[in-house]
């Protein structure tokens, strides 16, 4: 009970503090003589946002890049040693390789699954379509940790002779297989792929919503015209519909790509990086929390950042184009 009261007070303090800040700032500016008020006010309005982003994002990013050239206590300059050391470790290279697999499989898997649902559900009645879509969409509300628990249970393993309570092993043994400890089977990276399933399962709803909206925006005349010209359904889809929704496909792909690049929670919960499933997001946490090796952890983040830079440039260019057409 005391805890609950404290919680309420904490919430009020956090939210109220924010409001108070603006009221005070605004009050101060309105005291200023007219012209100064107009000059200063924009900065009062954007100021707090800029301060937030600068202190908690921009400055730390620069500082992290700086720290990546220092030893783990941040005292001695070591040049590129952290990078060289990491890139020479087979366990780190393994994590990089897994990340690459994730980047290849997950965004593509999400787009394909989302497209399938969007296209097929479009054939149903409106009610049927909305029902199907809400089922696929619902996992979007579930956290990576929650979803990992859900799927850990699906992949659960009991030794032979005991009842299999994991759904996958139950199906597998029903068709005559021997029970498999799925999460530990790293031949052909099977376990990594099973973890990717979780991510695809979570993100398909997102892809479906965007792609479905895009498909409905495709002018019916173009589809009708293709059909009249004798194109099959498949031809119509790939040659008429897909080109018209391509920009949405790219949007979905890039969004999921960035998310996948940073993937951490699923691996942390399911394996902790063991059984050959480690990825850089998880390796970063291991270095930072378990080993307290700030220099190496910083170097890992900088590598992530470098990987994101092309997307950043793309994003800014897209934005400029969009602004130009406004």
């Amino acid at each position: 009970m005391l805890k609950a009261i404290n919680a309420l007070l904490a919430i009020l303090a956090g939210v109220g503090g924010g409001f108070a800040l603006y009221l005070i700032l605004n009050w101060l500016v309105e005291r200023l003589p007219g012209r100064w008020e107009d000059r200063i006010k924009p900065y009062i309005f954007i100021g707090p946002a800029i301060v937030f982003v600068t202190i908690f994002l921009v400055y730390p990013a620069l500082r992290t890049a700086y720290l990546s050239f220092f030893d783990d206590d941040g005292e001695e300059f070591v040049g590129l040693a952290n990078y060289v050391e990491l890139l020479a470790e087979s366990s780190f290279l393994n994590a990089l390789f897994n990340n690459l697999l994730w980047l290849i499989v997950v965004p593509a898997g999400v787009v394909v699954a989302g497209l399938i649902v969007a296209v097929l559900a479009d054939q149903l009645s409106t009610r049927g379509e909305n029902t199907v879509k809400s089922f696929i969409f619902l996992p979007m509300a579930i956290s990576f940790v929650g979803a990992s628990t859900i799927w850990r249970f699906v992949y659960a393993f009991e030794p032979e002779g005991r009842a299999q309570i994991g759904l996958l092993n139950a199906v597998w043994t029903f068709f005559g297989g021997d029970p498999v400890a799925w999460i530990q089977s790293d031949s052909f990276r099977l376990n990594s792929f099973l973890l990717m399933v979780i991510m695809i399962w979570l993100q398909t709803g997102f892809a479906m919503v965007l792609l479905s909206a895009a498909i409905k925006n495709v002018p019916t005349e173009t589809v009708e015209a293709a059909r009249i010209d004798g194109a099959s359904e498949v031809q119509t889809f790939f040659q008429v519909v897909v080109p018209q929704i391509w920009s949405t496909v790219i949007t979905v792909f890039v969004t999921v790509l960035i998310l996948t690049l940073k993937i951490f929670d699923i691996i942390y919960v399911m394996t902790g990086g063991r059984f050959n499933t480690d990825v850089i997001g998880n390796r970063f946490i291991t270095e930072l929390i378990n080993f307290g090796r700030d220099g190496r952890a910083s170097a890992i983040v900088v590598m992530l950042l470098i990987a994101v830079i092309p997307v950043m440039i793309y994003q800014v260019r897209q934005f400029r184009q969009m602004e130009a057409t406004r």
């Binding site: 202190i55 940790v145 930072l288």
Partner: protein, 305 residues
């Protein structure tokens, strides 16, 4: 929240949840195949969660000796059902405490960035000042920066002012990490509001503060709601930031608690399933009740070529 988000722009009409019926192509044989394919997908997307829910309400010994699907044969045998698992997880395993903490973390971490971003978005849209475009381009670039870049220096800063492991640390971190997206979405939305309204307010002598508060905020409700849902889900479902800045212990949130339980309870599935379900209830309710805004936020803008 499990996604980053594409741009939101007000010019595109949001996809309505219900479309005018009729006019859909229907082709005989293929509809059956379509229906079967969709059924299979719906099953794959729902059964794992149903299994979790069913298991969380079963007696421990039945859970470990039979698959959850065996309840299908005798769902009315009430000896197999129990609320015991929830009780144990909630009290003995700290999930009740974590649940409160999650609320304490999530509500300010949602409200603060909205407030701050709304002011900034207003200035970016309706005020002219030197440096405006540069600031905004930087924000756009920051949309995709991985949060991890900020952790190590932030831990040092928070350590120096002594707030590591406390709620203000996560509020500030989440507010900052959510800021670029919030400003971006809201500004794109405000850009589409009718300019005449603002002009006439100015002519009537309304100050920026009044215009913002009385006109722009009410008119921006859809965008504010969409962002609020994103940020709420994202913060509630976040593990990474909570793990770094709050960690396990008295202030831990539900995701951290659950991830610890997965590590320690291993295969006590009756408890793990109940714990997982507790972490999912709030986002599910928020999501289901506000889905309309959420979908609108996702579809608007990104649809146009």
């Amino acid at each position: 929240m499990t996604t980053t988000t594409p741009p939101l722009a007000p010019e595109t009409e949001p996809e309505p949840p219900a479309k005018p019926s009729g006019g859909k192509p229907r082709r005989g044989v293929s509809t059956i195949i379509v229906r079967i394919a969709l059924l299979v997908m719906v099953l794959v997307w729902t059964i794992p969660t149903i299994g979790l829910l069913v298991t969380s309400g079963r007696e421990p010994e039945v859970v470990s000796n039979s698959g959850w699907w065996s309840v299908l044969s005798s769902p009315l045998d009430f000896t197999q059902w129990t609320a015991q698992n929830y009780e144990e997880v909630f009290t003995a395993r700290g999930m009740g405490n974590a649940f409160l903490n999650s609320l304490v973390v999530t509500i300010p971490a949602t409200v603060i960035p909205i407030l701050v971003a709304a002011f900034a978005a207003y200035a970016f849209t309706f005020m002219k000042f030197p440096g405006r475009d540069v600031f905004f381009i930087v924000l756009v670039g920051l949309l995709v920066v991985p949060l991890q870049v900020a952790f190590i220096p932030l831990l040092q800063i928070f350590g120096e002012i002594g707030i590591v492991g406390t709620f203000p640390a996560v509020w500030l971190a989440h507010a900052a990490f959510g800021m670029p997206l919030a400003v971006y979405l809201l500004r794109n939305y405000m850009e589409g509001l009718p300019g005449e309204v603002i002009e006439s307010a100015k002519v009537d002598g309304a100050s920026h503060f009044v215009t913002f508060w009385r006109l722009i905020i009410p008119m921006s409700t859809p965008a504010l709601a969409a962002y609020a849902i994103f940020q709420f889900l994202w913060v509630w479902n976040d593990l990474l930031v909570a793990l770094i800045f709050l960690g396990p212990g008295d202030n831990e949130v539900v995701t951290v608690n659950l991830s610890t339980l997965v590590g320690t309870l291993g295969s006590d599935w009756h408890l793990l399933t109940a714990a997982a379900f507790i972490t999912m209830i709030v986002p599910m309710i928020v999501f289901l009740s506000l889905q309309r805004y959420f979908v609108r936020g996702l579809t608007a803008g990104s649809v146009k070529g």
